[in-house]
Subunit: 345 residues, 4 copies
Amino acid sequence: MKIKAGIIGATGYAGAELVRILLTHPEAEIAAISSVSFEGKPLSEVYPSYKGLCDMECQTQDEVVAKSDVIFAALPHGLSQELAAQCDKEGKAFIDLGADFRLKSEEEYQEWYGCTFLDHDLHKRSVYGLPELFRDAIKGKKIIANPGCYTTGAPLALAPAVINGLVSTDGIIVDSKSGVTGAGRKPNQGNHYPELNEGFHAYKVANHRHTPEIEQTLSRLSGQKVTITFVPHLLPVNRGILSTCYAKIKDGVTFEQIQKAYKDFYQDEFFVRLLPDGANADIHNIKYSNFCDISLHHDKRTNTLIAISAIDNMVKGAAGQAIQNMNIIFDLPETTGRVLVPPAF
Amino acid sequence: MKIKAGIIGATGYAGAELVRILLTHPEAEIAAISSVSFEGKPLSEVYPSYKGLCDMECQTQDEVVAKSDVIFAALPHGLSQELAAQCDKEGKAFIDLGADFRLKSEEEYQEWYGCTFLDHDLHKRSVYGLPELFRDAIKGKKIIANPGCYTTGAPLALAPAVINGLVSTDGIIVDSKSGVTGAGRKPNQGNHYPELNEGFHAYKVANHRHTPEIEQTLSRLSGQKVTITFVPHLLPVNRGILSTCYAKIKDGVTFEQIQKAYKDFYQDEFFVRLLPDGANADIHNIKYSNFCDISLHHDKRTNTLIAISAIDNMVKGAAGQAIQNMNIIFDLPETTGRVLVPPAF
Amino acid sequence: MKIKAGIIGATGYAGAELVRILLTHPEAEIAAISSVSFEGKPLSEVYPSYKGLCDMECQTQDEVVAKSDVIFAALPHGLSQELAAQCDKEGKAFIDLGADFRLKSEEEYQEWYGCTFLDHDLHKRSVYGLPELFRDAIKGKKIIANPGCYTTGAPLALAPAVINGLVSTDGIIVDSKSGVTGAGRKPNQGNHYPELNEGFHAYKVANHRHTPEIEQTLSRLSGQKVTITFVPHLLPVNRGILSTCYAKIKDGVTFEQIQKAYKDFYQDEFFVRLLPDGANADIHNIKYSNFCDISLHHDKRTNTLIAISAIDNMVKGAAGQAIQNMNIIFDLPETTGRVLVPPAF
Amino acid sequence: MKIKAGIIGATGYAGAELVRILLTHPEAEIAAISSVSFEGKPLSEVYPSYKGLCDMECQTQDEVVAKSDVIFAALPHGLSQELAAQCDKEGKAFIDLGADFRLKSEEEYQEWYGCTFLDHDLHKRSVYGLPELFRDAIKGKKIIANPGCYTTGAPLALAPAVINGLVSTDGIIVDSKSGVTGAGRKPNQGNHYPELNEGFHAYKVANHRHTPEIEQTLSRLSGQKVTITFVPHLLPVNRGILSTCYAKIKDGVTFEQIQKAYKDFYQDEFFVRLLPDGANADIHNIKYSNFCDISLHHDKRTNTLIAISAIDNMVKGAAGQAIQNMNIIFDLPETTGRVLVPPAF
């Protein structure tokens, strides 16, 4: 029998992307979907792409929880904690695409999001769902904090170097560029076509909420408190995040050692593709898929490692990774339902 | 055992799209691929999107034929006839994405393409593979002429009206707008990013080779010689063709009759989605999929039917339809391998 | 002394474009600007492009009228009539970029816009400002109805053929494709970047308010009531309208006669560029300028004239034409301030 | 009498942009243009945008030199040295948009470009034309090395901090993102529309020829040898470069001091716009203009200065700056001919 999956917040972009992936998942099916803004309306009215494929009507949150084995929540921050408690009480798995369970430090959560932990036990039992880095911790858990988009690409680009102590964890710079879907479905002046098209700019410079989350992951990997400089930019494309990460190579470490560390670390990871020497990671090559492409570069003149990762912010950076987490906690091969071949163009 | 599929011309855009679709087809597998320009090179070197998914090397045409049950050819016109003969002799199915077998009249073929029929018997045994219109003729055949891109969208938009004699076949105008991939993988000044981006123009006005092919289909459907005015335009998007088709409604015919004719005609077609009243077909909603969305509009002031279809030129207009044809001739449900859900964005 | 120009509705796209053009006009200067939404704010806060160039604050409508010799109004329909009366009383020239004075028939105005004429005398004294077609009528007038965007490109494409009776005025079809700025500055779901990007669709099919205005012009030119089929589409580009116009060539008329009629008609027009045989009008080549490029094509098989025009919807289709009208009524050479060279890319 | 300007390499993108700017320059006129590939052809055949504006035919290089007071050369590197010598001999001003005179060190020129200096005296008499930084040195000179595109934006973003010793010159990182026109007019696979559209990637990572040129400028400004890490990326837009520059703030220096240093340094510069606190430099706001917008940001957590500049790579990064240099050496106000208002959209 198929896993019954419910989606709360199905009409947002992450929710809609979950629908796309679940529609071809061989071991799961969409049991119910909800949306505050579109209750009673079929999803295909909101997204005509899905006509004939998912004409299911949006129901209430409670109906979704009742009908599902696993609940995916794609909600603004602050709205997931009570829902997680409800799922927990009813014995349902809960995968949160929002931010409420990502930061382990309540202090940081408060500083960056202005909210507090409602139930500390729940937070303790939740796990951060970045499979390539924390797979073992995910297995057997039922409350999963699915990482944010920037917070998937940058750590994957840096992990092998940081874990193996090959670069200094001081002075790491992450310069990221994201497609527009990252800003959500709600129109605003900044995403209005004529004002974004043929434009490009940074935003929330050194001030973005994903900063402490990237730092939390790098600290956990390196075993020391890491502080980074993080600058996100907005690209005039629909999907994709390219993160250009700069780290000083430690004295005595060669670039070849670094390359080997990456090869060893990612050799069995289906969804991480370490590119050959000379290639450049490109969001063009991973869009609509769960892949993370990584290219490594050496600035010999300043002995700096430049590690560049490309992910689809809506797939590996949101819905695809959530499905990967579902596969893990339901003991399926992680790649189940990986019908998402990145198109060549 | 899976169908062994071979692709000749795999490094062109249609060939690459065949790869994408076949990679997730449950009943077929890629047996071999060929490319004149990239012989000996892995496909994933040409299209890094496919790294880890299709690293197969390009072989010779003969090797592909030898290893395959069905051969897809995505070649410039003039190069398919001998290949078809070879496949025919070896008892292999042959699906031609090129133009050599599309026109039934050698005279027209000569006029528009400057070539002659090498083997009239072969042409007689070939069939035009537009399943929604000519399904019965396709079954049991082994040489399939897969329609061109414009020649799929426009006929599907007009078929029910023409078949039922609801519009005049005189004065039909097809104003089509195509994404750039239709012009192929080879760079030229016209497709150079800075000169196409933020631009839009018509080309080959009333002079495009797909004109006689659209006319052949409409003539076959209506039982009378149809001549149309066809103007293609180049859109600054990667994929998709929108065809805005104008036809005079016959006296005494109501728009409601026309709507009903379309509903009846397409009600069992999975891949054709007749949109509800008030909706507008949009290439945004079908891209990367095999769907053809159709919206019908009535200009009451001039009593004109405006039928608009949207297809992905690379899928329903090329590779997806070719797989649909393969499914038909191998007695599989037509929708087998339809893992191509159009993304919501 | 320079002409003092005031702009009412300066923070909309047409208003902002007027600012861009007036900033380099040698004989006019911006005296004052107004905006209901941004009163008291500098324009450069709304459009950072203008920082240091137009940091003028938005004032009230009355202040603008008081300080200006000529008032440009870029307002939603229905809001210009009283303003026109006010300008008229104070002896100021009034150039309306809105729709209130465009239709000469109150009945049509009521049918398409749902409003009535407040002052019939004012409407009688107003003139339709399409200089290349009605230049003589514009001279000496003070209330100018600046044409809409679609209603400039399509009539210019058809005028010489219609005036000279070379094509049938029955069955004319205008298939237009417009850039996004035509829909204005206010964000909505349809113009939200991820939903428009890589998309293309028709809208208001056979139902757009510019229909009667195009018909009014063609009727005036031909001396008979013309009814057309008009279908606008939305292009994923910022600027530009391409109109593909179809008209049946009359018996006995040759295409060469038509070409000659166009050459004769437009030979002294600086802003209309008749392209050489074989070229295709492209919005790429006229963007940011006041040019209208026209290419003529002959469908020999159906004896149809296909006349294609390309304009920048914001310049020749709005602000640039408004300045051209200002130049006329202030007795300046029409090309004064034509600093708008279309960039090559 | 107007300055007679000649353009060698007029059919490349930088050459075409020079034409656009010179067409509206009040004190200069285009005397002659040349192009190896299009000799004898009118420029408007290559760029239909210029039809009726610059239909001048491409002549030989010698003809251009003979007819001009100032020669602009937009040639591949290695081709300017002899031409400079020729202009020098004939007493003509020479403004080189290529790379031959940019690097003062022959060793570096050899290392990065593989060429040698043909005439050391000529190189000594040449001057690096970045007016905002080296204006005084430019005055009175006749051989100008116009800076490259990346090499204008990054130094302008960093200059006031570096000159005043407010940041460490160790560990500076420049992460730049450029529009496609930077790669020139010649089509190739990388700039082919379907492969660039919806893509984004770095290229020539830590290996781009503009690296030593940026370093040369920063070294000259700081009085010490500066080595940087420079990573360029390719944006799917036509124009614009955004450079995100990272520099460690020195101990004891406040961000307010830095802000003041920038204000003081740029207060009289028309073409550099220091944006207000909280704003983000955006290529959208400077395209088609000679402006360089700069926004300053403080990463308090790591005490890093993030200075971001936006320029149009074809204007301030090429042709516009060349005209600015021409104005200087012909004793015109630098802003003469500044008809290039950045459009609001």
